[in-house]
Symmetry: D3
Subunit: 293 residues, 6 copies
Amino acid sequence: MFFHRQELQHTAKPDAPDAVYARKLQEVLGGQYGEITIAMQYQFQAWNMHIPGKYRDLVFGIGAEEMGHVEMLAIMIAQLLEKSPLGITEDAVQDDPVVAAIVGGTDVQQAIVAGAGARPVDSNGNPWQGSYITASGNLLADFTANANGEMQGRLQAARLFHMTDDSGVRDLLSFLIARDTMHQNQWIAAIEELKADGAEELPVPSNFPLAEEKREVSYQYLNFSDGAAAADGRWASGPTPDGKGEFSYHDGPTTTAPMPAPTHPDVRFYGTTEVPNVVEKVAGKVQDALNKE
Amino acid sequence: MFFHRQELQHTAKPDAPDAVYARKLQEVLGGQYGEITIAMQYQFQAWNMHIPGKYRDLVFGIGAEEMGHVEMLAIMIAQLLEKSPLGITEDAVQDDPVVAAIVGGTDVQQAIVAGAGARPVDSNGNPWQGSYITASGNLLADFTANANGEMQGRLQAARLFHMTDDSGVRDLLSFLIARDTMHQNQWIAAIEELKADGAEELPVPSNFPLAEEKREVSYQYLNFSDGAAAADGRWASGPTPDGKGEFSYHDGPTTTAPMPAPTHPDVRFYGTTEVPNVVEKVAGKVQDALNKE
Amino acid sequence: MFFHRQELQHTAKPDAPDAVYARKLQEVLGGQYGEITIAMQYQFQAWNMHIPGKYRDLVFGIGAEEMGHVEMLAIMIAQLLEKSPLGITEDAVQDDPVVAAIVGGTDVQQAIVAGAGARPVDSNGNPWQGSYITASGNLLADFTANANGEMQGRLQAARLFHMTDDSGVRDLLSFLIARDTMHQNQWIAAIEELKADGAEELPVPSNFPLAEEKREVSYQYLNFSDGAAAADGRWASGPTPDGKGEFSYHDGPTTTAPMPAPTHPDVRFYGTTEVPNVVEKVAGKVQDALNKE
Amino acid sequence: MFFHRQELQHTAKPDAPDAVYARKLQEVLGGQYGEITIAMQYQFQAWNMHIPGKYRDLVFGIGAEEMGHVEMLAIMIAQLLEKSPLGITEDAVQDDPVVAAIVGGTDVQQAIVAGAGARPVDSNGNPWQGSYITASGNLLADFTANANGEMQGRLQAARLFHMTDDSGVRDLLSFLIARDTMHQNQWIAAIEELKADGAEELPVPSNFPLAEEKREVSYQYLNFSDGAAAADGRWASGPTPDGKGEFSYHDGPTTTAPMPAPTHPDVRFYGTTEVPNVVEKVAGKVQDALNKE
Amino acid sequence: MFFHRQELQHTAKPDAPDAVYARKLQEVLGGQYGEITIAMQYQFQAWNMHIPGKYRDLVFGIGAEEMGHVEMLAIMIAQLLEKSPLGITEDAVQDDPVVAAIVGGTDVQQAIVAGAGARPVDSNGNPWQGSYITASGNLLADFTANANGEMQGRLQAARLFHMTDDSGVRDLLSFLIARDTMHQNQWIAAIEELKADGAEELPVPSNFPLAEEKREVSYQYLNFSDGAAAADGRWASGPTPDGKGEFSYHDGPTTTAPMPAPTHPDVRFYGTTEVPNVVEKVAGKVQDALNKE
Amino acid sequence: MFFHRQELQHTAKPDAPDAVYARKLQEVLGGQYGEITIAMQYQFQAWNMHIPGKYRDLVFGIGAEEMGHVEMLAIMIAQLLEKSPLGITEDAVQDDPVVAAIVGGTDVQQAIVAGAGARPVDSNGNPWQGSYITASGNLLADFTANANGEMQGRLQAARLFHMTDDSGVRDLLSFLIARDTMHQNQWIAAIEELKADGAEELPVPSNFPLAEEKREVSYQYLNFSDGAAAADGRWASGPTPDGKGEFSYHDGPTTTAPMPAPTHPDVRFYGTTEVPNVVEKVAGKVQDALNKE
């Protein structure tokens, strides 16, 4: 169960309205790596988790915080839109380049659809969607997804920090950026703990029998482009991070197989097949099939 | 530039057609973590990269290999569909439970739309989409995304391995699983190399001035649920993985702020505001605005 | 801010696993009128609201409850999937029609992607999306949307009730159906209260000056089909519900206007225009424009 | 069957081209509550209806009118785009702020894709989609959806009215707003008629046996937030609109249930489970399962 | 304006309900090449057309017919669903393989969402979307798109014809297939007429000055794969269909250019750049920029 | 298999950065008819093809070239974004109309998400999706789709050519436009060859037995609008392009059928049916059904 309190975790108050920036801030609310994604991802991981205790408590514990981050951003956006000009005519534009700029820089649906309100969309107006989240049931994979989510999120917040000089907006972003610092550290710590507990190891999934994979290509770097510098990387020689092999470097594939012959499905799919006179031949077979039907 | 060779990296030939499995295999072709995602992600990272040399060569080198994995899966799917029954009537169903099972288990668009062919969709028929990929320009974030992609991909391939006993399909999956082992190791090695090179460190982005974030909450674990076990984790005490702080554990938020007052946009947005008699009041203001327009 | 408690509002425990039903239940979790929609809709209405007090408290108060409904359904689905068969071969199918049925009736992504877990998608696997919600800032419109949401939701839950005889699942649905009864009544009561308060009235938006609309067609029923029975309805004669007019019935349009002439944009859009010899004429104009550029 | 006449229901002719406004007008053509939604919604309700006579004639009668509204808007948009500048260079921008404004305010796909034409998308360029419509077969639910659709539609048209001073555009919007007035009244009258006929009543679906729902929570207002003002609303005490109960007000849930234990699916899903040494344990079980396969 | 008549162009009555087939038939109703696409495509082409007379009358004339095809399919689907079983328990499945088959083969949203009705979605449940249509304003391009639409549509209808032996369904498909025959012929005739009128020619757009394209590569077949047989095709030698050149065949590219250097955007985007010590260097520059802000 | 070479087919270097144009160029990279569509379409056609030899070699041969076109556009876009301003405050806007214009004209996700990089989206930010491609297995249909794809693509590139005066961008577009000229010619030549080979003919699919279609309406032009000029077209009289009939012109439908009666599904779908007293009647039947369950 979830309970709401009509307070925020941090002040969310802009110095002044800025409809252009309100659009940009939608990215970290409703974008691929926005707070809705993060909140939903942690909660679905919690609901699907197969293990009680510290890992489930962790995901539950942070999921509800992230819902509060969604709220702070939505409320900030509504305030940024408060004095949003309703409509703009060419006359207004001719008099005022600021107005001109605003014409195009805003999310017009924030006005027409939400009446100067926040929306569950990204900064280009694409609706948030369920396929942004990851909750596979394998914690080493999912915590890596979470670490990535917090990295992309902090990166976007940092970029947005430089796109405004409103001290109220920057104040909120500073808070969110700090929480992303925590959460990056947290997921990396949780990955370490999973390994220390003997719960998971590399490669994911660690329980798939290695004997069932083609081990001869498990540690080969295969270069399918013509840049030679990748041979100098840590991934091209030396022991592998999973502790189970040695990297080797190869130019191009080390294995090859012939292209299989084209398929020949039922003639009633009407795919084009070998010529000549395929029209007549196939038509005959179709008629036979129809007669039998 | 890309060049194609009419050979495969590994044999892709099923023992027998299996239209039900052909649908499932679509997941690792056109799903969120399918090979199209992986191939596109690496290529966009290469095209957007700001640094020449080993990292760019690495991403170019593997991107083209992944395009070949897309190809192997598409060709495998086409063969699995080769004897796909075209249509099924209730009579057929009554005689044969295998046919009955196939009715529902197949992707009907593989038949109706592609004529027994592979499609750029996932195992539920959702079209592949550009929002599956990640290419931010920050390599520590993106290589973490890549590691996650290879983990989720190998996990799904391992599950699919157990969903068939066709030795040809399993043979291909064994190869792809082995390559995923390589690529998981590779991205983790590349993350280590980025740090060793002094190119990136935690938290991402490492160059955002820490003084600009609210450092007092940067290492606090805040528990917004009521499970107590998360206090025992590595993320609740001790030094943080970024080497810049100490974790602390707190039940609930350590900061709070009042909910801002509701916004009051232009009356011509027709949002509902304070009562009573708001209808008359707003109507009057709208009329004034119209008179002025 | 949101706080989570590791309890449910009602028991969510099936008698037995049922992977086919787990797919169906996704509809009321992640579908157009599923609980994610309802929870998100109420919260965005709260964040965008322009009026403090009882209406905002109402929307905040119920929004958090709905998040808990999302949770109960997700957890129910995870349990329904617990003994989900991993893979099915034709041999198994031949022996057991139940297995055959399950082949096609399940959401294969619940297995391949979520490892036997719930997902933010509908019963056909379409991801939940932000465009399902409505939060316009006008409370009479939005509360009508909410009433509709609770009606569609209770309707779907009632249908799902009849699609299982698992007493645990039915027990949870009985609870959710009762809450939908409350929420339908609640939104209709809130609509009455809005009118009683003088905050809104019909038509929405009530503050748009009626003098600005074409009043002559404001109460005409125009029949653009050839069924005559609609003339007998309440909407074809008598006073209108907004108390401002009288319905009248008309066969076909009461107004008409000529189709405007086709448009002629810049020739450099290369649209096809009047013949003959348009190729030469347009090519000449394009060349002129290029020369000027 | 549908028949087209090359006339419009009302004049659709702008005073002057305005490419920026052409983009905004897309919202009521191809948005969530645009005319395509309304037209499609009524037609699918008609095609799926289970009852002949006045209700079906009503939905058929208005569905075709709405197709004509789609047409008026599309033709208006094409004219607004007629003098749309093709391309804009920085030189042009420096000379003319109007041009500058237009750069960003237009829908660039109207130019690049449609050659200065209307498109089936909303004002942010999101394609219209089938999931916008509602046609459940239950008329009380669907007519409520229709009332909401006409409310949101009139609200958006009213906002758009204030975003231009083009008298031709305003003239068309005045007509559409008047028709929305009619259609709001019509659906509310139809809801009354459904009840008067004894066809449907509250709660929807009215035929689901009330004995099957948990009646003890059917009229409880449960406050999951901390705002107290909702206790003063019409929905917190007194008789319920369905005439079958009395509202009561409660702070927080009146029922509770323990969180179920985590699920334990087949080990071959490779979900993370209880530690320690889960890697070895699961690997052993997987190997056993493989041996049996 | 559109007018509806409560008649169909052809009988749409199945011999018997068939919920599994009802799902398949959704493809030609709401799929990429379903009738909604065709109807919408022709109407948007009409609304955006720049030329009065026969071509516009043609597109208007057929657009309304296609709306009637949408209707026939929707009504057919509703009837196919009429006896659709509501729910299926494992007991029922064990007794009856037909029931088992139906479990998985149906579109569960037709039941849960539409109450045994048709929906604007394809056979996998993907909602119809505006991006399926093509209306560019260039008639040679668009009529080619139309010819393709009618080809794909007839192909899918032919496949669906073989997937049922219900004589009522086949009767309707026979009618639709015949109309597709007409419309394929019609668009090819219209393409010929466009050329005969001198309105358009190849390549599209025919008015773009050929001098502005790199004519040296305009007729070269460049083989980027290793199959040699393409050299034997009509496209590898001889005069080109546009009458303006001669095909030639080349193995691989005839031109090449070096890969440009990586880009270096503003450091405040936090992209990874040249090592070593990039963390310190970039952090310094960011701090400088912050100081200046 | 695919191999990458770190060279381009043609120079891709702008004279100067232009973030506004970078957004527009996304259309031909990631739009409905962008290069990703073309590359994916040809490759899926190759993988699904049922016929070896010249046609398969053709599709393989050009598919890899198109991947290189994706690359040139992505790299061009990254360079156009190189000096993209990070953020813009109202002060900056007031000083400089060029800056004002840029505010709105850019794709903000290219900045916030990709850090000044290209993305797999169109010019309105809609993600590329798998449903853009066509690969049906029938070559006459698919080559017509390909011809259309190259026509729409060249049309969009020509429009984009006029939207910039950057000689570097125009140079690349000139090259791509020339290749589109080739590919239009190529597919039309391939269609001729298919017919000459006797592999396919009109109508598609040519093998469906004509006796199974309603031949009486196969060549009738039916005018469902009131424009008379379509009677003058090539499609209204004379021999049909498939060589199998004669066109005829008809005002309105030549066939008609009564609208079927409304359907009556199971009462437990709770659809509204005949009045009066339907509530009681249906409730009784539902209770009976529940008692039996």
